[in-house]
Amino acid sequence: MITKRRKKELTGWLFVMPSLIVFTLFMFLPIILGFWYSLTDYTGLSDQYNFVGLSNYVKLFQDRYFKVSIKNNLIYAGLYSVLTMLLALVLATLLNGLKRFRKIFRMAFFMPYISSMVAVAIIWKMIFNPNGGPLNTVLLNIGIANPPKWLASTDWALIAIVIVSVWKSCGYYMLIFLAGLQNIPETLYESAALDGAGKIARYFKITLPMITPTIFLNLVLVTINSFQVFDLVNVMTKGGPGMSTNVLSFRIYYEGFKNSSMGYASAIAYFLFAVILIITGFQFLIEKRWVNYD
């Protein structure tokens, strides 16, 4: 006779089982193996390698490229997450309030996300071209004497990457916000309106609190994604000019696949993993304070 409790547990595990199988094969096992490599001097090529303990991790903090990469990542992550969240929320709200052409506008805002990275890189490089590109031409026309050199400048290249990144992914988060906004019952708005609440009051007192689960979801996702940016950097600047757009994920790829230091690359990776874990963990810890699931 299976107790009710056992039955409950069993059901839970049964629902989780299919995903558990694929996850173990494609994620858990490789992750553990990858961590093992970070404790060795594995080159990625040879099958002979030695255990070196934590020396890869110690090496991290003496590597000047590593220090620069962390700084770049933090700047990028900060700017990208804030800008993307704001833009996505604004767009979703605006779209929800549209009466006509809603479908077309929604599709338009989603287009950057589905566009090919190759096309995106080429066209944005042309836009950012410091000599004669559209962006600087406009800036000059509105009176800015020395517009930034964007991808050619070590000061502005990272900002340029942030701009393209926000542009490309806001549609993604916007869609999630849209889905969240649907959960709010119309009746809430109606009774609030009857009570005399104006548009802005309704937005801040009803809409925002009701979508806190969605905000939380997007916040976690945007944080994780902001530390993992790779494709865009690889295609637009390859970490340059100099080291100004050299972010950690690019460093990992470079050390592992171009410099044959796979062990060291893994150490960088697991360090990055720890950083993301701590930040996300923190977000989950304070979740209960502001998210209401009803």
Binding site: A119, A179, A265
Partner: protein
């Protein structure tokens, strides 16, 4: 009132400008697909090609087995999307509505997999998958896509906002978890599931790295991989690649249009209604 009308018009103009900013690379892609090589990098940017070159589209479909690539990509994308929705929904249900020991720990582990940089698990994953004989196979791509915690996280958040009372009532009535899952939870979470369908499809469709690593035979290639044959060592046929990319976008747009309406149910929500 005249005032609201002009406010409305301004609003629509703003939206239109925003939309323009969002779609201009797509316009450039489209325009380049009709150009000759010499017109691609002109300054200022030539938006309307003159003369028009229709040859690029012909090249895409004749010089490479594009139709095969299309078929392969559809197979992988549909398989992966269906698979991902089903097992993510099941896992999300377990993490949000069911209770079992180790639940929260397991969920954290799943979530943690999203935080590990891809390049560091690339080789370990290949070692394991190749030992199982799954290389050069579409199944490797589909299964790999199923191991994505994003869908589970997304659905769990949405499932958590479904009122517990609904489920409790059903349990008291003697319904099995499977029934509650399929007849109560899933229908209520249509917006979230539609969102996942779109995201999952787009991601698999546009994925380049997994097909690159796991596919060897040209007849199994997906579109993204196939397009790279128009690149040579030091240069690439931009116009042809853009034509191919435009063709590749069509199924995504179709899926988007099909599922997008389930995300919003047509009612106007927000404080903006007067």
């Amino acid at each position: 009132m005249i005032q609201t009308k002009s406010k409305n018009i301004l609003f629509y103009i703003l939206m239109f400008l925003l939309a323009l900013i969002m779609i201009f690379p797509f316009v450039w892609m489209l325009s380049t697909s009709f150009k000759f090589d010499s017109q691609v990098f002109t300054t200022p940017i030539e938006w309307i090609p003159n003369p028009v070159n229709l040859n690029n589209y012909v090249k895409v479909w004749t010089e490479e087995p594009f139709f095969t690539y299309y078929k392969n990509t559809i197979f992988v994308a549909v398989g992966a999307t269906i698979g991902q929705v089903i097992i993510s929904a099941m896992a999300a249900y377990a993490f949000s509505a069911l209770e079992f020991r180790g639940r929260n720990l397991l969920f954290s582990l799943y979530l943690a997999t999203m935080m590990v940089p891809w390049h560091t698990i690339m080789i370990p994953q290949y070692k394991i998958i190749s030992q199982m004989g799954l290389t050069d196979s579409h199944y490797a791509l589909i299964l790999g896509q199923l191991a994505s915690a994003f869908g589970i996280f997304l659905l769990r958040q949405f499932f958590m906002s479904v009122p517990r009372e609904l489920m409790e009532a059903a349990r008291i009535d003697g319904a099995s978890e499977l029934r509650i899952f399929s007849q109560i939870m899933l229908p209520l979470a249509k917006p979230a599931i539609s969102t996942l369908v779109i995201f999952s499809f787009v991601q698999v469709w546009n994925d380049y790295t997994a097909p690159l690593i796991y596919l060897n035979s040209k007849e199994k290639y997906t579109i993204q991989l196939g397009l790279t044959f128009f690149q040579s060592e030091h240069t690439m046929q931009y116009t042809v690649i853009m034509a191919g990319t435009v063709c590749a976008l069509i199924p995504i747009l179709i899926i988007y249009m099909l599922f997008e309406k389930h995300i919003t149910n047509g009612m106007v929500h927000s404080g903006l209604k007067g």
